[in-house]
Symmetry: C2
């Protein structure tokens, strides 16, 4: 059975991806800050916060043991919204937004790569940098823009894996409770994003996918 490693599995999208992956016949391994609700639903889950280096290293070791070191699908669904004008944003708050949206992703990549054999697939849930560069979203926009460029470079460097940057429009998740404006009409549902993740995985679509 193919293993899928999902980072950020209790977020609105991560949870849907987890369910979609299981329904598709993959064996999901869930990493989340609070894995208890996932374990209650029968998922193999591990507690980790991507901003904590030791957590990420330990989570990768756990995933190695669970999967026997062969993860076919790796998904980064961690993200955090911010809300406030940059003039009122401390450097600490800006750093924290970068830490979860970019540095955490790199930490997870760094520790996971040995588990992803050639042919494995890494999918990042990103955003359209130009669309989210909006008032009161500065820290979030900077972090997601950094991640977007990071993914582009990683895709060019990791020639033997498939790397996909799934640029999402608005998705109806609890993240929006922290946004400076209401969820736009026509926002996608998390299960639709999960369907896109699985389609991208089946079709081995690399590069930027607009969703």
């Amino acid at each position: 059975m193919d293993y899928a490693l999902i980072w950020g599995a209790t977020g609105g999208i991560g949870r849907a991806v987890l369910a979609g992956v299981r329904a598709a016949g993959l064996h999901p391994l869930a990493i989340a800050r609070d894995p208890l609700p996932l374990e209650a639903e029968g998922y193999d889950a591990y507690a980790a916060d991507v901003t904590r280096p030791h957590d990420v290293a330990a989570a990768a070791l756990w995933a190695a043991q669970q999967s026997g070191g062969a993860v076919a699908l790796w998904v980064y669904a961690v993200g955090a919204m911010s809300n406030g004008p940059l003039a009122d944003t401390s450097t600490e708050a800006l750093s924290a937004a970068i830490d979860v949206n970019l540095i955490g992703a790199h930490r997870a990549v760094h520790h996971s790569l040995p588990l992803i054999p050639a042919g494995g697939h890494l999918i990042f849930l990103g955003a359209y940098p130009d669309r989210i560069a909006l008032p009161k979203l500065g820290a979030y926009a900077a972090g997601k823009a950094a991640l977007d460029s990071y993914i582009t470079v990683l895709a060019k460097e990791l020639r033997d894996r498939t790397v996909t940057n799934l640029r999402l429009s608005a998705v109806d998740t609890p993240l929006w409770q922290r946004a400076p404006f209401r969820l736009p009409r026509g926002a996608r549902q998390p299960h639709e994003v999960a369907d896109t993740v699985l389609r991208v995985y089946r079709e081995r679509t690399r590069g930027v996918v607009e969703a």
Copy 2:
């Protein structure tokens, strides 16, 4: 006389901007990690590293005293190149690249804003995120992409100042000694960038300027 505050004044571009600003009749205030060569040329200069919070706060106080609290032109010319594939880049190295290219900019903005009255002009020397997302440039590309989005949001939020994002192509500076490939043919000279900075300032051009 109008004051111009230049952050990163000993870099290849910063140095040229400093000279251009003085030639144009503005009174430049230079902030640099090593201000001694600038002082030897008669510039008012102050030692600060933008990655050190105390340095930035002290530099802003110095600029306040020098300028009487009225900076007409503010230029952020700090930047650092990185070189290496992401798989070999530690999270510390990635964080350091973000710290100098993004967080340092925010720190400088944060402490400088009280010195920039309504109508003042902030010019950032940025890059084209899409063009620099190249192998071995991951940390640099992520930092500059974050800065690019940061500037876009700042420009929308600071309605009473002019904010310009000067997206530079390759410029012939010592920064390129650390790049993973040679300086492209047709690269611009620092004095040309300084001319563009002054033109943008005179014409009060806001938003993205491709240079």
